[in-house]
C-alpha cells in the first residue's frame, strides 16, 4: 500500500511529460489548469484519440490523464490501444481516467481497460493530486495476457472470493487451517514488543 499525500509533502513534477486528453474543450482547459498548477512544464493536450495517438507515437510520456466518454473512439479503447500498441516507452505509463458517469454497459470495460485509476468528474485539484501521487507510488504488478494488459486489478490481497478456490497459483484459501508450527511462548511475544534502543 502507498501512504497518503500530506499537505507538507514535497512533490516534483517539473520534469514529467504529461498527456491530457478530453474531447470537450472546456473540460480540457480545466484539466490543463490543474495539471499546470502541479508544476508540470511539459504538458501535451489532445482533443481526440487520433491526436493523442499521434503524440504517443512521437513522444515519451510519464503520465496520461484521459476522459472516458468521447465520440468515435473513447478513452477505454484508447487505453486498450496504448497498452498493446503504444510502443515500449509508453505502454506501461501510469494512466488516470476521468469520467462524470459510467454507462452500465461500460462498467466492466472500464475496469478492464488497463488504467491505474479512475477519478470522478468534476475533478478537484486535491483529489487529482492525491491520485497522481498514488499512481506514482503504487507497487502493483503489471499483468499481461491475451485478454488484459494493465496494472493488477486487485487493489487488496484479501484472498479469492468466498466459496471459490481462486484462479491463481498463489491464491490462498480463506480458511486458515491447522497450525504447522508450535505456538510462540508469552516471552517470545513479549520480546517482539519490547522497546529497544536504536542507534541512528
Amino acid at each position: 500500500m502507498t501512504e497518503a499525500l500530506l499537505p507538507s509533502q514535497r512533490i516534483n513534477l517539473e520534469r514529467a511529460t504529461v498527456l491530457v486528453l478530453d474531447d470537450n474543450g472546456a473540460s480540457l482547459d480545466i484539466l490543463s489548469q490543474v495539471v499546470a498548477g502541479f508544476g508540470v512544464k511539459q504538458m501535451h493536450r489532445a482533443e481526440s484519440v487520433v491526436d493523442a495517438q499521434s503524440l504517443i507515437r512521437t513522444k515519451t510520456f510519464d503520465l496520461v490523464i484521459s476522459d472516458v466518454q468521447m465520440p468515435v473512439t473513447d478513452g477505454i479503447e484508447f487505453i486498450e490501444w496504448l497498452r498493446r500498441e503504444g510502443g515500449e516507452t509508453n505502454r506501461y505509463v501510469p494512466v488516470i481516467l476521468v469520467t462524470g458517469h459510467t454507462r452500465t454497459t461500460q462498467i466492466f470495460k472500464l475496469r478492464d481497460a488497463g488504467s491505474n485509476y479512475v477519478v470522478a468528474k468534476p475533478i478537484t485539484p486535491k483529489v487529482l493530486l492525491e491520485r497522481i501521487f498514488w499512481v506514482a507510488r503504487e507497487d502493483r504488478q503489471f499483468i499481461e495476457c491475451e485478454t488484459y494488459i494493465g496494472p493488477d486489478r486487485r487493489f487488496k490481497h484479501e484472498g479469492p472470493p468466498p466459496g471459490t478456490d481462486g484462479r491463481r497459483k498463489d491464491d490462498l484459501p480463506a480458511e486458515v487451517g491447522e497450525a504447522q508450527t508450535p505456538n510462540m511462548s508469552d516471552d517470545e511475544i513479549a520480546n517482539m514488543m519490547r522497546p529497544a534502543k536504536v542507534q541512528i
Binding site: A26, G37, V93, G100, Q141, T147
Partner: protein
C-alpha cells in the same frame, strides 16, 4: 492462457521524489487559482448547455421524440465536466442522475419524458436559486432525482 506478471519501470515514481519541487498544499493552491481563472467561461458554458437541453429536450421542444439518447447523454456529461464551480449546489449530482436516466432509456429504447422534465427543471432551479435553498431541501430534491433515475417501470 499465458499470463506475464512483472514490475514495469515507473519514471513518474522517480521524478516525483526528486529534489526541489513544491509542497502538495502549494500545488493544490496553484491549481485552484488556475481553475478559478476559468470560472466565467465555465459558467457560461454550463448555462449554454442547459439552454441547449431546454431547446432540444424541454417540454415545449418540437421533435424531441426524434432526438437520440446519445445527444442528451453528451449534453448532460458536459454539464458534469464544468460543474466544479457549482458542485456545492448539487448541479453535478443532478447531471449524473440525468446521465443515469438516459443510460436507462438507451437500454430500454424508450423515453420517459416526465422524468426528463423533472431533471431539466431541477437543473434550472439549482442553477438559478440553488445557493439560496436550504441544504436539506437541495438534498431531498437530489435524492428524489436519483429515485426517478433509478426507477425502471418494467421492473415494477
Amino acid at each position: 492462457m499465458t499470463v506475464r506478471k512483472f514490475q514495469p519501470p515507473n519514471r513518474l515514481a522517480k521524478m516525483i521524489k526528486e529534489r526541489g519541487g513544491i509542497l502538495a498544499k502549494d500545488a493544490i493552491a496553484a491549481a485552484e487559482a488556475g481553475v478559478e481563472s476559468l470560472r466565467e467561461s465555465s459558467l457560461a458554458n454550463l448555462d449554454a448547455t442547459i439552454a441547449e437541453m431546454e431547446r432540444r429536450f424541454g417540454k415545449g421542444a418540437e421533435g424531441r421524440d426524434a432526438e437520440s439518447f446519445e445527444a442528451l447523454y453528451i449534453l448532460s456529461s458536459r454539464i458534469i465536466d464544468v460543474s466544479i464551480f457549482v458542485s456545492d449546489v448539487g448541479i453535478d449530482r443532478a447531471a449524473v442522475s440525468l446521465c443515469g436516466l438516459v443510460d436507462g432509456f438507451a437500454e430500454s429504447g424508450a423515453w420517459r419524458w416526465d422524468a426528463v422534465d423533472v431533471h431539466l427543471n431541477a437543473l434550472r432551479l439549482l442553477r438559478s436559486i440553488g445557493a439560496q435553498l436550504p441544504a436539506e431541501q437541495r438534498e431531498a430534491m437530489l435524492a428524489g432525482l436519483h429515485q426517478v433515475s433509478r426507477h425502471r417501470p418494467d421492473e415494477g
